[in-house]
Symmetry: C2
Subunit: 322 residues, 2 copies
Amino acid sequence: MRVLILGGGGMVGQKLAHRLAQTPELSGQPISELFLHDIVPPKDVDGSFATTCLTGDLSKSGEAERLAGLKADVIFHLAAIVSGEAEKDLEKGWQTNGRGTWQLLEALTGIGDGYKPRMVFSSSIAVFGAPFPEVIPDDFFSTPMTSYGAQKAISELLITDYSRKGLIDGISIRLPTICVRPGKPNLAASSFFSGIIREPLNGQEAILPVPDTVRHWFASPRSAAGFLVHAASMDLSLLEERRALSMPGVSCTVAEQTEVLREFAGEDAVRLIRREPNEDIMAIVKNWPRNFDTKRATSLGFKAESDFREIVKIYIDEELNK
Amino acid sequence: MRVLILGGGGMVGQKLAHRLAQTPELSGQPISELFLHDIVPPKDVDGSFATTCLTGDLSKSGEAERLAGLKADVIFHLAAIVSGEAEKDLEKGWQTNGRGTWQLLEALTGIGDGYKPRMVFSSSIAVFGAPFPEVIPDDFFSTPMTSYGAQKAISELLITDYSRKGLIDGISIRLPTICVRPGKPNLAASSFFSGIIREPLNGQEAILPVPDTVRHWFASPRSAAGFLVHAASMDLSLLEERRALSMPGVSCTVAEQTEVLREFAGEDAVRLIRREPNEDIMAIVKNWPRNFDTKRATSLGFKAESDFREIVKIYIDEELNK
């Protein structure tokens, strides 16, 4: 089985690659070859299978055809311009996040010979827009309030339609905000949710741009990799025609996040969180979902953490104690 | 005020053009010029304003730029490959109904100089897919089960995002099935809903491919033109970020339609309906919405007929007694 990860150099792509290296199979089929593709050279992983690192821009002419030509059995499509950048640069966001998916689907369909790959697309809760009910049900409508969210919603529709037509076997999974992200802050407006845990645990100051009362929806990088593997392995006919679904997660407030930090690292760590209200970030965050009822994903076997404590413990185990 | 109708040669486009000829203003501004654009030469209308008929294919290179160059103040975007054809020819449907809208938005944005037209897009209840609740609320999710529906949903997302960015002032209105359509049957799978009224009223046989119990959602061509004019005139800031909405209509069954035909034209007319069950059409129709609660559109001033009798009366008045 040949596996391709688009966005394979990113944080989630790397977590997934390592997970596949640890357990080199999908649906009981051994993985023979892994392709990691990204706009900058992705880091290789050590596995029992052959690994090829590819560099290129999905939005550029010919790149989708090159990738389709690999004839991977499973394609994880994680490639995207992040939310902050897609909002600032409309053209760039639409080219990569919108047209990129479209070109990929057309290129895959162009292969012919009955080629019909499994495609797992990492969508986002950014497909939803305020005002929300307190808990968002599985049949709540998609009204994105960012270009990034609109691009994810459009990719979902394309993947569902191409699947319905029997040209691919696709699923779109809407990831919660991934927390605690290892590494450095990025351009995503959600970056601080990881920062306020990660930086203090590493003895560094973190900036908190929103009030304590802000509630949001989280899952660990380990869960993200788990969702992707499950989505690549499960029987997608169970989804019937509704091939986009919200993943389970943990709903908690910044105050609750802070309490968990205190529990693991004490008052000194909490003091490293510097409150610096930022109107721009607050304006974005107030339109974000706070909580979901993910009955459908749960009944289909997708699993996340049960509380924020577990999320922080995973970060400590995987990143600090490794 | 300059007005452009894309799909101006179609049934709804022509109804709208005649309505504008009768009342040559939008938002209290007089219409100075009307452009009718379609893939085949549209019929001209007699109005107090100048009229220009244009022929071209929106999906072809350069056409969107030509249309944007007209710098219309109001653009009615009604151009589409119909549902049956978009389902058969995936590439053609996506090119016109999907990429066509996208190219148009990019071309409009490319004009610059602060040009920001009002765009009214005729979306469809085909953005919804079964299973449905008995009555579909305004916040029900979009899960199209046809390529046509997916293309309409994607156009809605694009128009909303470009509007949010301040590049156009757009609205997408989801039309019910328009009934009674004048003229001949077309390739839309919904064509028979008009046929079983229109043909008997004209002394001709009509084929009914589905059972009497099928329930569906209707509005007259006059209402369709009314929705479009209202959408072009209203203050769109009232929509906030949710710029796609379902239009009001009449929910009724085929049996109820038949009763209304009997009332207007007697038993002889009803006998002209020939039952000829068609599995293909039934398979499509069973996934269609049956009823909506359109609180939002109604509170914003959109109006449809109150029952199917009124819908048939409009056909008789406008098409048979004219």
